[in-house]
């Protein structure tokens, strides 16, 4: 057959028998998997190995960078001009919005000062670029070009200009891997901006769709509602836009409504993302505020509060901060209705 070559002697009698070697390697693999999955003992090893793999990434990036450089340097004048005018327009509208925002922020600060609660607004950010690497077609992971050298850390929130993109899952020296909010292993605690109902938005594996499985059929949500992060997980800061609700389907025989939302961040398009540093300990008042804000309208959201608090914050949120439990306790809301069971854990 075609694959015959000079080195065709079988390997019988060289070293331990084949089966024994497979057994040994299988044991090592299983040990690795257990250590990595159950204990997370291999984070440092992973970061070293991924740093070692960075030349591969550099090789793949090179043609794209060369192309960008070429198109950038040979861009013609008219295109630059039109781009410039577009950007000027955008900046103008953004400034107008910012004016309003300034006023609101000022008012917010005053109100918070009255309530004797300060929320950390002075957050540090860093722009990172998504590296053009296909990690896995069925998982929504991406690599960015900033790593532990720039102070990136595990579970750091990642945003773009429109909303929350995801969080960092593993860091090596010059890069990091992020998980997008649409990955089906990801979940993020959110609240409806209109009335403060809290729940959890779970990724579906579809980049344009999040699912909100813990909203009862009586809960006051409707299509078009804005979902913002509630900050109860200690991973994401409170108040950043996450998604808009696209579909609410209430089956009269069901306990939970089928609610879907569309992520606001341009998960499939943005190449540049924002890494955020914030102090989760300062987020506690925000969580309490949210809890109290939702209390007055709490006839129906009570079940959701229970749902949101009972359900484990899934893969998304490591219960990092000790503040979380206190922030989560739905202090003033009435006890959950009997019809609402704890959702499937």
């Amino acid at each position: 057959m075609v694959t015959l070559s000079s080195d065709s002697r079988p390997i019988i009698g060289r070293g331990p028998p084949l089966g024994a070697r497979l057994f040994f390697l299988a044991i090592v693999s299983i040990a690795l998997m257990v250590l990595d999955h159950r204990g997370g003992y291999l984070d440092t090893t992973r970061s070293w190995l991924q740093t070692a793999a960075s030349p591969l990434y550099a090789v793949i990036q090179a043609p794209f960078q060369a192309w960008n450089w070429l198109t950038g340097s040979f861009a013609d004048r008219s295109r630059l001009r039109s781009e410039n005018s577009e950007l000027t327009d955008e900046l103008r509208t953004a400034r107008v919005k910012l004016l309003r925002f300034d006023a609101l922020a000022e008012e917010n600060r005053r109100l918070r000062a009255i309530r004797n609660a300060s929320q950390g607004i002075g957050e540090r950010t860093l722009i990172a670029e998504i590296v053009r690497i296909d990690v896995d077609p069925f998982r929504h992971r991406a690599r960015i070009n900033k790593g532990s050298e720039d102070g990136v850390f595990k579970n750091q929130p990642v945003l773009d200009a429109f909303g929350i993109v995801g969080q960092v899952t593993s860091v090596d020296r010059i890069g990091a891997e992020i998980i997008l909010i649409s990955d089906n292993e990801h979940a993020i605690p959110v609240q409806v901006n209109r009335n403060g109902i809290r729940t959890i938005a779970v990724g579906t594996g579809d980049i344009h769709r999040l699912s909100l499985p813990f909203l009862t059929i009586e809960s006051d949500v409707k299509a078009g509602d804005l979902l913002v992060s509630s900050g109860l997980d200690g991973v994401f800061p409170a108040g950043y836009p996450v998604a808009t609700i696209t579909k609410v389907n209430r089956g009269p025989a069901e306990t939970f409504a089928i609610v879907e939302a569309k992520p606001l961040a341009q998960l499939d398009r943005s190449r540049e993302v924002l890494l955020l540093w914030f102090d989760p300990s300062k987020e506690k008042p925000a969580g309490n505020l949210a809890a109290e804000a939702s209390a007055p309208t709490a006839t129906s959201p009570a079940g959701n509060d229970a749902a949101a608090t009972n359900s484990p914050p899934a893969a998304a949120s490591t219960p990092a901060s000790q503040d979380a439990p206190t922030a989560r306790a739905p202090t003033r809301s009435p006890p959950p209705q009997p019809s609402v069971q704890a959702p499937g854990q």
Partner: protein
């Protein structure tokens, strides 16, 4: 041993190439169909130079895949080792098969590989249940005769 060194070099070059092709960006439509080139190479080198490309080689290749795309270490490594074991076990038979029969065997090996990966995905709690995940089995099997032709030509011209 000059022979061994030159095929060692060839193995290294092809493996690095396969690793790059494993993560090079593809259009959205083609992404699920990306062939398991590195696994095909492991099978090929296990058949053509079994003394250089043993189980340890296969395991390390799998570990490299784990590093660049796996959710956990050891997942692809163990699947690679199992495929290499089956290849080594049947290498005398596989080498004299005509190409279509060999392709069928490779198809079976790829299916076993995908199944192991799928199984471990399920155990760690992140199963990907879409049928599209089995597409690489087909595309890789289609690629096998091409790969054999190219690498055999290369090996023969270099000898």
């Amino acid at each position: 041993m000059a022979e061994g060194r030159s095929s060692g070099l060839r193995i290294t070059v092809t493996v690095i190439l396969a690793l790059i092709l494993a993560i090079v960006p593809l259009p959205e439509v083609l992404r699920p169909a990306r062939p398991q080139l590195l696994l095909l190479l492991v099978i090929y080198w296990s058949l053509s130079s079994p003394r250089l490309a043993g189980l340890m080689f296969a395991w390390l290749c799998g570990l490299a895949i784990d590093v660049i795309k796996g959710p956990i270490f050891g997942q692809h490594a163990i699947a690679f080792a199992v495929v290499a074991y089956l290849t080594h076990k049947n290498q005398l038979r596989l080498r004299i098969f005509p190409i279509y029969q060999q392709t069928l065997w490779v198809f079976g090996l790829l299916a076993i590989y995908e199944f192991l990966v799928f199984w471990i995905d399920g155990i760690i709690g992140s199963p990907v249940t879409t049928w599209l995940r089995w597409l690489p089995v087909v595309t890789s099997a289609v690629l096998w005769p091409v790969l054999v032709a190219v690498l055999d030509t290369w090996n023969r011209s270099r000898r």
